[in-house]
Amino acid sequence: MSAEYTADEMMSVAAARALGDGMSCFVGIGLPSKAANLARRAHAPNLTLIYESGCLGAKPSRLPLSIGDGELADTADAVISVPEVFNYWLQPGRIDVGFLGAAQLDKFGNINTTVIGSDYHDPKVRLPGAGGAPEIAASCGEVFIVLRQNPRAFVEKVDFVTSFGHGTGKGDRERLGLRGRGPTLVVTDLGLLRPDPETAELTLTELHPGVDLESAIAATGWSLKVSDSLSTTPAPTDRELTVLRDLEKASA
């Protein structure tokens, strides 16, 4: 594969590949929504996209700019109320994958989108807050996270647990009675991380083509564990790039 592509394009393609045909996916706005819509166009035509605004089975022809974009409602199988989305569809565990972004992510896959800084009442930065994410992280069969990797985002411990990943390690989810498997995959612009089967600590399992291990380690705010079987992500195919670029063009 000789096509030129950016690190962000590699990230979107790698994230999209994680979604299989026939799955149901609760989609966060931004990078997760881009990946989910790419998957639906590239290889998973029967992927059901669910947005928290109440759009079940949305099939947008362009990327939505917000969670309540009219395009999502116009193309959905059904538009339902927000209480119904959370109570009937998400809470009982009917949705296979929750696809989330994050402002801060720690080595056990806990997500912070609330405040930066240790004092909730006097934060360094006030972020938007939880939205639907805590229940998505708790109730979907599994959770994929997509975000750009840098030491400010990838921290040893998040300042605030907005959405629970694996807590302080393996077994925490079970102890708390959380039903889904939690984060099983983190996709970044540098590679892929997955929880270690023994400890649940996020471990680098794949590097994107051309990314060296040192850069991935330098971009991580904790001492990054690397899988013994570290492999290289297959580069985006021409078709994947074409579909992604068409989608972005339609959305500009």
């Binding site: 706005i29 928290e52 605004s53 109440g54 759009c55 700019l65 917000s66 969670i67 309540g68 974009d69 009219g70 999502l72 409602a73 116009d74 538009v79 109320s81 927000v82 209480p83 989305v85 959370f86 109570n87 998400l90 809470q91 609330t114 909730y120 006097d122 934060p123 930065v125 006030r126 972020l127 938007p128 807050g129 939880a130 939205g131 639907g132 994410a133 805590p134 229940e135 708790a138 109730s139 605030f160 647990v161 907005t162 959405s163 629970f164 807590g167 925490d172 989810r173 708390l176 009675g177 959380l178």
Partner: protein, 269 residues
């Protein structure tokens, strides 16, 4: 029976200083014009409730109308942060803003309890997060049948809820469609309600999937064409994404914001 009033009259009669006020609309049908009328009428000490406080709440907060915000996601959708909200939380400008923070599921269930006439709602949520430690209105509860640990959140019963809809008839029956978020629950949970509408028609034609709020659950209806702009009203106009982007520049800077506010309220610089 709902009264048909002008927006000015409706806000003057229904929204008082110190009230708990919910303006709902999930990206779609946001009652922006009503929010700006509250700013013009200089209401103070409001407890503002909204799942997704977006730019109209940034404006209300920046104008000093709010003492407290009850919410679950505060951002400029598709753009970034709300800078007036941030400034109030981080620097107490123009007045300190107390916050009561939930998740969407928690807020949605609080409205459901309010609309149902129950004191609280139950959900399987918040477990493992840091939210319960900061929010007094999130409490554990044990299921009396299975012993499962769940979460209780108290009902939200605003003094007044304000929503925007596509249509009403002359009797004050309201019809809305598309993404309808928690608007029905917010109106049913409130002591008083105001619905601004794109148009008042002689007769409401039935529409598949539409929500109808009968006139006897609505206090007042005001005809405000374009009342949701820059958000959108399905069937009437599209979201003005450029306005959301432009707000980022205005909201980011106290001086720019003050100029905007003076223009809205007719104060000469």
């Amino acid at each position: 029976m709902a009264e048909l009033l002008s927006l000015e009259e409706a806000v003057a009669r229904l929204v008082h200083d110190g009230d708990t006020v919910a303006l709902e609309g999930f990206t779609h049908l946001i009652p922006v014009a009503a929010g700006q009328e509250i700013i013009r009428q200089r209401r103070r000490d409001l407890t503002l409730v909204r799942m997704t406080p977006d730019i109209v709440y940034d404006q209300l907060i920046g104008a000093g109308c709010a003492r407290k915000l009850i919410f679950s996601w505060g951002g400029n959708p598709g753009v970034g942060s709300l800078h007036r909200f941030r400034d109030a939380v981080q620097h107490h400008w123009p007045v300190p803003l107390e916050i009561e923070e939930h998740s969407h599921a928690g807020m949605a269930n609080r409205y459901v309890a309010g609309a149902s006439g129950l004191p609280f709602a139950v959900l399987r949520g918040y477990t493992g997060t840091d939210l319960p430690a900061q929010t007094a209105t999130i409490k554990p509860i044990t299921c009396p049948f299975t012993g499962e640990q769940l979460t209780a959140v108290p009902a939200l019963n605003p003094d007044v809820s304000i929503v925007h809809a596509q249509r009403a008839d002359r009797a004050g029956n309201v019809q809305m469609w598309g993404i309808t978020g928690v608007q029905k629950e917010a109106v049913l949970a409130a002591k008083r309600s105001l619905v601004t509408v794109e148009e008042i028609v002689d007769e409401l034609e039935p529409r598949p999937g539409a929500v109808v709020l009968p006139a006897w659950v609505v206090t007042a209806v005001a005809e405000v064409p374009g009342g949701a702009k820059p958000s959108y009203a399905a069937g009437y106009y599209e979201r003005d994404n450029a306005a959301y982007q432009a707000w980022d520049e205005i909201g980011r800077d106290r001086e720019e914001f003050t100029k905007w506010l003076n223009e809205l309220t007719g104060v000469k610089a």
